[in-house]
Amino acid sequence: MAPVVPVASVTTKVAQASKQRSRIAYLLLIPGLGWLAIFFVIPLVTLFMTSLQAESASKPGTYVPGIQFSNYTDALAEYWPQFVRSFVYAGLATAFALVIAYPLAYFIAFKAGNWRSLMLVLVVAPAFASFLLRTYAWKTILADDGPVTSGLNALHLLPDGRILNTGIAVVAGLTYNFLPFMVLPLYASLDKIDYRLIEAGNDLYGSPQQVFRKVTWPLSMPGVVAGTLLTFIPAAGDFINAELLGSTKDKMIGNVIQTNFIEFRDYPTASALSFALMAVILVMVLSYIRRSGTEDLV
């Protein structure tokens, strides 16, 4: 039948056009994929291969390619306390950052009015100074003869009589340094909440506390998840805070990796620790995201 021919050719044309469009979409992916291949996948593979190297029998202190899984078990057996400490410190810092950042982000999103841009700039402003410098500043702030320590000592609140070179200082430094990464995502998701929903909650007999628990908090969950991840992940791998603010008893896994790489030149152990750290964080993050159920939040 005559009309069928043009209809068919039209559909093939449409199909061709959409095929072409999807091909363009794939082309757009190439730069990103290239970047990832060169700067992420290749180093990762190298790192993994290094982590399995064995010490050369002829030349001690150098390493030859191998498949020595005991690098992992040995490293973990030796450094598990630092491993655990990393996650404890990072977890504490994340919790403190959340407690500090949530009210701040809430205030900026709902109450700050015309001051909101200024306040956001102030949140980010410390990042204009270098990370290292800021952490050094904390060394001064928390110094044994500094105002914070003397003040708390006067109140007999410090068991050891000091803050610097203790775990408290490391957690405080981590909390401070990663606070903006908590505030910004929280602000973004709180700001997205339609204030009329909170009013509706009040209208439906929800007290301010109930409305917070049942409306505001669940709606800010994407920000909470993003903020805790952005704080926890770098904090768990950080070594500067423990290096500058902690004692040798407060070392984190980042310090161990750094020492093994730079001082002992024990590349396989350092690589094995790095890889293990990455794997553990990945597993934790995935189960956390699954548990918090943020996928179906709008």
């Binding site: 339609d194 009329r196 929903l197 009013e199 509706a200 909650g201 009040n202 209208d203 439906l204 007999y205 929800g206 007290s207 301010p208 109930q210 409305v211 049942k214 409306v215 669940p218 709606l219 179906d296 939040l297 709008v298």
Partner: protein
């Protein structure tokens, strides 16, 4: 309140309620009494302060001054969650993270009601959404969302239910259906409803009392028929339905006010006149006017007000015929004639006489200007014909 069968129905009283936003008075010295169990409609143009009024009643906005009473209780100082009032919001404001069931159950759960299932299922049945109970609001159509919003408020059996244009997003058929439904629910639960709407037909058919609001004030309030038949300001005459308004001067007063306008004499019962001075605007609704061929003037009852003119437009709408008649002084008068007259209708260009009873005439104060409330009425008419 919760689950009470023999619950007391309360009236709503607003006393000198005022809300100032910076320099603008959104609500200006408003005093309203909505009797217990009544259906109160608040009608007015966009931005006249309807939403602000409802928000003050709900407790979401603090009045600049004035008081709000529910029954004998002064609730002005109570927080929103402490008031026996629920709102159907103009924007629905459904919780996006909760499914329909949980949205509807929200109010009951906050008040600690243990077994909510039966009540939620019953109210969802009422708004015909039982099948969608486990969907999220974003998966519903606008009309379905609106029904959820109504159900979510109603399930709490509040003393006063505030509805802020709850039917605006519905198509005409669903809107009529929901109007009937709302009206039925209202007479069933006996709650005092305060219903804000743009749709005057909706206001007139549903409400026991309509209040026409303009720029933060109540222009006129009363039974729909009363407000329609006897508007007290030019704004109301133009805003609620249509009116023919003619400017004139009083000639004599007494039980009947005699008015001279454009060389013609008109009569108005003085109780239907509110113009204080010499100058007056007389008005008549289009359906009150009889349209007769000039030769048939003798058929007009004696004592009727009358105007002579020429037909410039005839539109047959089925139920009625709509005439536009131009007067010698260049004004267009609208008249609706029921299509029940035996014989010929008047035709384009015919000289006609328009007649109506003095008892259908109203006298208004001209101070507002003849166009008060008109722009909006025209818009309303256009959107009606679209629908």
């Amino acid at each position: 309140m919760p689950g009470g069968v023999a619950r007391k129905v309360e009236d709503l009283r607003l006393v000198n309620l005022t809300k100032q936003f910076g320099g603008t008075k959104a609500v200006d010295d408003l005093s309203i009494t909505s009797p217990a169990g009544s259906f109160f409609a608040l009608l007015g143009a966009s931005g006249c302060g309807k939403t602000t009024t409802l928000r003050m009643v709900a407790g979401l906005e603090d009045p600049t001054h004035g008081q709000i009473f529910i029954g004998d209780q002064d609730v002005t100082e109570l927080r929103a969650f402490q008031r026996p009032v629920n709102t159907v919001f103009q924007s629905y404001a459904l919780f996006p993270h909760l499914d329909i069931f949980e949205n509807v159950a929200f109010g009951l759960r906050r008040r600690g009601v243990k077994d909510v299932d039966d009540q939620v299922i019953a109210i969802l049945e009422l708004v015909e959404l039982s099948a969608l109970a486990r969907r999220k609001p974003s998966q519903l159509s606008g009309g379905q969302q609106q029904r959820v919003a109504v159900a979510r408020a109603l399930i709490n059996q509040p003393d006063v239910l505030l509805l802020d244009e709850p039917l605006g997003a519905l198509d005409l058929k669903l809107r009529r259906q929901m109007q009937i439904e709302l009206k039925r629910i209202q007479s069933e639960v006996g709650t005092t409803f305060v219903h804000v709407t743009h749709d005057q037909e909706e206001a007139m058919t549903m409400a026991d009392t309509v209040a026409v609001m303009n720029a933060g004030r109540i222009e006129q309030m009363g039974h729909p028929a009363e407000v329609y038949e006897l508007p007290r300001t030019i704004f109301v005459a133009n805003f609620l339905g249509q009116s023919n308004l003619i400017q004139g001067m009083k000639v004599s007063t007494g039980d009947v006010v005699e008015v001279s306008a454009n060389g013609l004499g008109f009569r108005i019962p003085s109780k239907r006149n509110v113009a204080p001075g010499q100058s007056i605007v007389i008005g008549v609704r289009p359906e009150k006017i009889m349209v007769l061929d000039a030769h048939d003037e003798s058929k007009l009852p004696a004592g009727h007000n009358r105007i002579y003119g020429t037909v410039t437009d005839v539109s047959y709408t089925g139920v009625s015929t709509q005439y536009l008649v131009e007067t010698p002084w260049g004004q267009s008068i609208i008249a609706f004639e029921q299509n029940s007259i035996v014989g010929d209708r008047c035709e384009l260009g015919d000289p006609v006489v328009l007649g109506w009873a003095p008892e259908h005439t109203f006298g208004l104060d001209p101070a507002e200007g003849l166009n008060a409330g008109l722009d909006h009425a025209v818009l309303e008419l256009e959107s009606d014909t679209e629908a």
